[in-house]
């Protein structure tokens, strides 16, 4: 088992009242799964994804990742954990405008303290794998949305994570670009990468092996 959420509650205090963002979430994810999280706006999809990605905390419950307890960890150890095992893909790509494609890909490796020569090889591999060798010296603003998201996916994968978390990865793309990205995800999943995506579209959800529906912070 890759990870497990047990009775997760998350709330914020607003006007003296608790507003629940997540209510009693129980979820087990096996390695190699491709899960889609669906639900209307405000149902807590992104919050759940952020909790899974350890970017956000929770108020009650337990989170086990690779048999370890996440809820007891300090921030530094959490950072270490997700740096090692998790990659993120965002709706609006979030590439750094001041860096080239090559440098954007290189950044996570720098933070993992990987040596220069090895870094070079890994970035070259990745560029090769995603067919963007020709674009390596371009800046994000010189790429189309689809190409930017391709770089985003490549960046998420470059450090060989076990888990990819994608927050509406095709939200800003047209249908043809969407299909390309989803097919890429499917292919990666077949290669053994676990993927959890948040999506609005039934069509995209269909690429996954399992769908979780959320409504008002509750799994239904």
């Amino acid at each position: 088992m890759l990870l497990e959420l047990k009775n997760i509650f998350k709330w914020v205090q607003s006007g003296g009242q608790r507003v629940f963002l997540l209510k009693d979430i129980n979820l087990q994810v096996q390695e190699g799964e491709f899960i889609s999280i669906m639900g209307p706006s405000g149902s807590g999809k992104s919050t759940l994804l952020h909790v899974l990605g350890m970017l956000d905390g929770f108020n009650e419950g337990e989170y086990h990742f690779l048999e370890g307890d996440v809820h007891g960890l300090k921030e530094k150890q959490r950072v270490k954990l997700y740096k090692e095992y998790i990659g993120f893909v965002f709706q609006s790509y979030h590439l750094l405008d001041e860096l080239t494609v090559y440098e954007n890909l290189e950044m996570p490796l720098i933070y993992k303290n990987i040596k220069g020569a090895e870094r070079k090889a890994m970035v070259a591999d990745s560029l090769d794998k995603f067919n963007i060798v020709g674009k390596k010296d371009l800046f994000p603003s010189q790429l189309s949305g689809g190409q930017q998201q391709l770089v985003g996916v490549a960046r998420a994968l470059i450090a060989n994570p076990k888990l990819i978390l994608a927050d509406e990865p095709t939200g800003n793309l047209n249908s043809q670009q969407s299909t390309e990205i989803m097919e890429l995800f499917q292919q990666l999943n077949q290669e053994g990468v676990t993927i959890i995506q948040v999506t609005h579209s039934e069509k995209n959800a269909a690429y996954g092996s399992r769908t979780i529906n959320l409504l008002d912070g509750r799994m239904i």
Binding site: K83, E103, R155
Partner: protein
Amino acid sequence: MFKNYLKIASRNLIKKKGYSFLNIGGLTIGMACSILILLWVRNESSYDAFHENADEKFRLTAQANADFKAAVSPVGMVLGLGEEMPEIKESLLLSKPFDALMEVQGTKFKENAVFYASDNFLQFFNYPLLEGDPNTALVAPNGIVITESTAEKYFDKNNAMGQYITIDNGDSFMVTGILKSLPSNSHLQFKAVLPMAYIANRDQDLIDKVWNSFDFYGYFQFEKEAVQSPEAFARTIEKINTIYAKRQPDFEIKFDLQAIKDIHLHSSNLQIDVPGHGNSLYVNLFLIVAFVILIVACINYMNLATAKSSKRAKEVGLRKVVGAGRHQLILQFLGESLIISFLSLALATILVYLLLPSFNDLTQKVLSPQFNDPFIVVSMLAMAIVTGILSGSYPALFLSGFKPVRALKGKLIFSKYNQFFRNGLVISQFAISVLLLIGTMVIYDQVNYIRDKNLGFDKSNLIYIPMEGEMFDKQEALKSALTQNKLTSDFSIISDIPANLVTGDFNVSWEGKDPNLQVLFPSIRSDERFLEVFQMQLLSGSNFSKTSFENHDYLVNETTVKTMGLTPEQAIGKNLRFRGNSGTILGVVKDFNFKPLQHAMEPLIIQHHKGGRYAVVKIAPNTIKPTIAALEEIYGRLNPAYPLTYNFMDAHLDAQYKGEQQMGAVFNVFALLAIFISCLGLYGLSAYMAEQRFKEIGIRKVLGASSLKLLHMLSKDYLKLILAAFVLALPIAWYIMDLWLQEFAYHIEIQWWMFASAGFILLVVALSTVSFQSMKASMANPIKSLRTE
């Protein structure tokens, strides 16, 4: 990793040109100012440190009472102290500086600043010799040691040694030594030095080895043990005072030792001193100014960096998501500010090279960019590092603390704390500006006050001519020649110019004088036209008559009468013994200033005398040229060996405050620069603030707000900050400026309008800086701002 930071930083710099310009520009100007001040301070505090064993060498100073402390000592004491104090290794006697007419084969120049010095002068002080033997150069009574530039003026460069120079149309002196150009950081500046042996048989003080007449400078080198610890030093001074008290029980003088390294900066309270000293107050003041300017520049950086932090939030969030730890981000942002500060340092260094000539003009110094001085280099590097870390620390801590998810979503809510902090920074900048503005105004006002102060006499249209050479013996002929010419007939012959009087006697007594009273009485000798030519006011009694000289009649000033405990009316006809001559007080003159305005009014005795050392001529309006021509004619006829030297009284008086005027000018420049840097930052800040409120402005406009209303809304916030800064700056400004004004016995009072106008100027400058951005934002088409959402 560092390479990556460098890349991001440099690309950020290039991409945001305006922002970079404001930041680097501000820091560069700030650093350049600081480096200039640093060079100046370094020079000011390096005086006389080049002499060997400078820590063991001291100058003897004498204090007569609380108000009168002088740099001079009696000859006998300087020469005799060594015999009674074995801890004195070396004693040096130096005369007061004087002007000398030097002549070599018809070439005549009046050289100011010539000294007589005892024969160990060149061993005691380490002025390097180009030629000659330091041990013997000043032994023979007819030797002369001249400086390189003096040698070049009179001789071919290489054969000055052994040549003769005639001085004051009298004796000839053989050049026995040529000094390398004097270090500019020497408190003694001179053109030539003559052997003390030459006047050993002529000067009465030297012949009698007196202990009660203070006319020479005395320097001593002590054994290390005698001056090293504060206790030993105090004991040594005590010993000197005991010796003197034994020798002169009737005189109550307190002697002190002044380290030669302290002479330049710590002599402002000493009278009868060599000219050209600095003031430690200004050194401290300028150090503070340098520091303040750097702080202002740092604040700019912090403000701009935090203001645009929303723009960098995404980068921070993203870096965190891909695994950056907080410390890595802190390092990155600190690295960025360090890059900017070192870039600014490089630019500032270039700027210093370019500005140094003008700065030298302003400060009358010959500073060179001493980038080989380790102290300067280390200070500069430290400045860049501290500036970089100081200005980068807040943005670094602030930005690196962002929560990644929120930062990425752009849902950052800037805390009240951040707003508070930024306002605090702006307030301190404004406060510093108000402070400097008030400083500028007070200094300007004080310098003007000194220049225009009614001295008690009319200093305008007065020309004075020193008596030289044969003129001393031809004073009667001079008087009749001056009287005969209508242009020059309004004249007076006096012994001393009432500008910086260096005379003073304790030997004054009157009936009923308190025997413990020890007051120094400066004196002037003059003819009967002194009061008229200088347009001084007689309070009671009458002016000198033709027979006043024989009768020992005295004129005294108001302060003398007060010292005697009388009113001006009571004093008339009272008996006064002055220098052993008993006479009567003929008249009381209204107090006039005969010393620089740093000093309080002292008593003064005016003696009648037929001859004098200066002829002072009052020129009728618009006749300056013909009068000078007439003087030249008279002078050339009576004293052909000397060229006429004349001076204007008012110019001479103004020159006494050159130090203050220079200081004021330098302060002005730095104050303006500091305000300019603040404005740079404010301009950038207001741009970002307007940008942040772009959408709000759009909505308000759609809802019907006029541009004027919006302008008001946007400027209102700054108004509050200015007010807060103003309130903060007032007491500090008052305290500091009052401290400076206390240096002057005569000074202006700090007025409320100085504060008011400083506040007003700042208000206008700040609001016009801000309103440009506000105007742009409030005039923009609202559709534009709303569409971007």
